[in-house]
């Protein structure tokens, strides 16, 4: 089999996953796209291992490790997503903007309560 076939398939799959990570809004769908990218990397590892006829089978062993680490990652990731959903009531990535900087010179409405709270805290400390 030509090496180009699995290599090109892996590249295309990786780019589909890249698009998913950048374009999806739901956090769980972003995790799915990450899985697609990891699967593409695995295909590359296996194909090059078979091509090189590695006596240590490093590529296939690394592919196994990647599969196991992907399982661990998805477990932790889902726990974090559920925690975010429970505290925020939403799992959309573009609504989690608490640490976003507002552009300079435009005091948006979201900033004002935080600023008032800060002055209130400072006043309390001074008193």
């Amino acid at each position: 089999m030509h090496l180009a076939y699995p290599a090109v398939l892996a590249v295309l799959l990786f780019c589909v996953g890249l698009y998913g990570v950048l374009a999806r809004r739901n956090l769980i769908l972003v995790l799915m796209s990450v899985e697609l990218m990891l699967a593409a990397v695995n295909l590359n590892l296996v194909a090059f291992d078979v091509w090189l006829r590695d006596t240590l089978h490093a590529g296939q062993s690394l592919a196994l490790f990647v599969i196991a680490i992907a399982a661990a990652e998805i477990g932790i990731g889902l726990a974090i997503v559920l925690l975010v959903y429970r505290t925020r009531g939403s799992s959309a990535v573009d609504r989690l903007r608490d640490t976003a900087e507002s552009p300079p010179g435009s005091a948006s409405d979201e900033d004002r309560p935080a600023g008032e709270e800060k002055t209130a805290v400072r006043g309390g400390a001074a008193a």
Binding site: M1, H2, L13, L29, W51, V81, L83
Partner: protein
């Protein structure tokens, strides 16, 4: 030894056909508006990749892929979708605002990488006359040369499990009441 792309072997034909199915399912995974269907298309993608591993004679990886990815990861993802109350029908806001930027980035990356990969490897050929990834071969490689990473991996899995439990644990009564008065 040169082989022509225009006279493919049977294995190559099957590989390309399954590859088209895998790519189509992956595109549907990242583009469908129904969130649960997305997880089901992911099953098709990963199952097709298992077939590709079989065609590359890496049968142990193929079965591990079926067991872990299709068996457990997708089930976990479905659990996650259900627990975050994902809408069952079509959801119009499945894609965020930077969809066209994402399309541009992914397209540029695809063109560049395909060009590089084809340019570098178009003359290389994988001989498939001898199976490279049977369970016997892989077991020998794993437990003779890769024992230490394998054991470290089991510790890592345990750590991930404990971490997931700690993260998803409900707070105790006192902490929950404290948070309730705060908010």
């Amino acid at each position: 030894m040169t082989r022509d792309f225009l006279s493919p072997t049977g294995v190559e034909i099957v590989f390309v056909l399954v590859g088209i199915v895998v790519l189509g399912a992956a595109l549907l995974t990242v583009s469908t508006k129904q969130l649960v269907h997305s997880a089901l298309w992911l099953v098709v993608t990963l199952g097709g990749l298992a077939v590709e591993y079989l065609l590359l004679t890496a049968e142990f990886i193929a079965w591990v892929q079926v067991l872990i990815y299709v068996g457990s990861v997708v089930v976990l993802l479905l659990f996650g979708l259900m627990l975050t109350r994902a809408p069952i029908g079509r959801s119009p806001d499945a894609d965020s605002g930077n969809r066209w930027v994402a399309l541009g980035v992914a397209g540029a990356a695809a063109v560049t990488l395909v060009w590089v990969v084809v340019d570098a490897f178009r003359t290389q050929y994988i001989p498939l006359d001898e199976a490279q990834g049977t369970t016997a071969v892989m077991g020998e490689a794993l437990f003779r040369y890769w024992v230490l990473p394998f054991e470290a991996l089991s510790v890592l899995l345990l750590a991930a499990l404990v971490g997931a439990i700690v993260l998803s644990r409900r707070k105790s009564e006192a902490e929950a009441g404290d948070e309730g008065t705060k908010s």
